[in-house]
């Protein structure tokens, strides 16, 4: 199955994903830039993505815990989700998301 991820430069990447993997983990495994500093614990909101409109209703709604963490995202939108809270499944094959500015890792100094 696949997930399509648009980076901050607007380039779309087609990523092979495995069932049960978190979308954050897929993005990180393919080495696209994503901060994800808490490692998937729904505790930091730095894996923030925007979900393509046609996919918004196909995702399970955000839990209260995810909504609480989205409160700490300064660039939140209606289609904001935390990619560590989206688990890949057959129904989500072809999912499209864009990386949010608040998920950008720090510049590498060396």
């Amino acid at each position: 199955m696949r997930v399509y991820v648009t980076d901050l430069d607007g380039k779309e990447h087609e990523l092979e994903a495995l069932e049960g993997w978190r979308v954050m983990e897929v993005i990180r495994d393919w080495e696209l830039p994503i901060k994800a500093e808490c490692g998937g614990a729904c505790a930091c909101a730095t894996c923030h993505v925007f979900v393509a409109p046609e996919w918004e209703d196909k995702l399970h709604p955000a839990t209260d815990e995810e909504e609480d963490m989205l409160d700490t995202v300064p660039d939140v939108q209606e289609n904001s989700r935390l990619s560590c809270q989206i688990l890949m499944s057959e129904e989500l094959d072809g999912l499209k998301v864009s990386l949010a500015p608040s998920s950008k890792p720090e510049e590498k100094v060396a």
Partner: protein, 342 residues
């Protein structure tokens, strides 16, 4: 503020789980530590990001919360009398001619020590900055991420953004002295304590403060002084006259001054060897999530192992004349004496 200098064996930068365990390992070898952390409490990520979340991969603890782990590590370190310095960030690290180090913090605290242990995890926790054009021009003049001096806000038109405890607590607190307070949040639901939310709603109903749904779009003002905060929401845009803005979106980790200390780095992590966990500078060690070596796994348990080996190497620098006898806490009466057990 006057310059103060503390002389000690070891300065540990970061009071997270690995820094705390380093106190224990160094303590068994008769080495005294001072710890410095930018947070107002020990525990690092465990305490700041997930104090209530269970961790399942700490050896011998099938399940333990971030806060419980921190409390246990504090207890384990206690016999060695470490000194904790919170709310401070290390800004400078300088090697002296005699091989010792001078460590300086942004609170004007100076340390002189023989060994520095960097256990800074993902870096220093700093406030999340809203992606608003030119916000940096207003920071610390009319835009603040914390209230350090309450009087800075007296008689001002204040906009507070966020839905957590910091946002709600300061809304209630500053309402007493401000000219006006407007709380802005993206939804009409808050993760702050229910009691604070109820008090806030009561103040809104009484007309003492305002609540607006939305988020910051941009700022108006010049020379560091804001005049209005423009917000956007589903209903469109709105301009809120304001002379102070307090955005509360929590903290995120930044590498910070570590990059300026002349150490060899690997993608923002500090290169170390796996025998001593020493950096490219003798006398500076790096343990836990902040270091890099081939095969590195960012696990708390790896940091514990690194702390133990680092301590052996640090001992040779701090007490070069003392022979180290390897001992177990189960059988060594001298180790048990240090731990205060009978």
């Amino acid at each position: 503020m006057s310059e103060r200098e503390i002389v000690t064996d070891v300065v540990i930068i970061g009071a997270g789980p690995v820094g705390l365990f380093a106190v224990f390992e160094l303590g068994l070898l008769d080495i005294k530590c001072h710890l410095i952390d930018i947070l107002d409490k020990p525990g690092g990520q465990c305490a700041e990001l997930y104090p209530e979340k269970p961790i399942y991969d700490i050896p011998a603890f099938p399940e333990i919360s971030g806060q419980e782990l921190t409390n246990n590590l504090l207890q384990q370190a206690e016999p060695f009398g470490p000194t904790y310095h919170y709310n401070q960030m290390v800004t400078e690290l300088e090697k002296q001619e005699d091989g010792s180090y001078i460590v300086k913090t942004d609170d004007n605290q100076t340390f002189k020590c023989k060994v520095v242990v960097i256990a800074a995890g993902g870096g220093s926790f700093q406030p999340k900055r809203p992606p608003v054009p030119e916000i940096e021009n207003f920071e610390n003049k009319s835009v603040f991420y914390a209230v350090r001096r309450r009087d800075e806000f007296r008689d001002h038109d204040i906009v507070i953004v966020g839905g957590g405890d910091s946002a709600l607590d300061w809304t209630l607190n500053l309402a007493e002295i401000a000219k006006s307070v407007t709380l802005v949040h993206r939804r009409d639901s808050f993760r702050a304590h229910t009691d604070s939310v109820n008090k806030m709603r009561a103040l809104v109903d009484a007309g003492k403060i305002k609540f607006e749904l939305g988020q910051i779009a941009n700022l108006e003002g010049e020379d560091g002084q804001i005049t209005a905060v423009n917000i956007k929401s589903k209903d469109g845009e709105k301009s809120l006259p304001a002379t102070r803005l307090l955005p509360f979106f929590g903290l995120t980790m930044k590498l910070g001054p570590v990059a300026d200390w002349g150490l060899n780095l690997h993608e923002n992590l500090i290169n170390v060897d796996t025998e001593k966990f020493t950096t490219s500078e003798e006398g500076i060690f790096a343990i836990g999530d902040i270091n890099y070596y081939p095969g590195k796994l960012k696990l708390i348990l790896s940091g514990f192992h690194e702390a133990a080996l680092m301590a052996q190497a640090a001992k040779k620098i701090i007490h070069p004349d003392q022979k180290v006898v390897f001992q177990y806490t189960t059988s060594s009466t001298s180790l048990q004496k240090k731990l205060g057990v009978k």
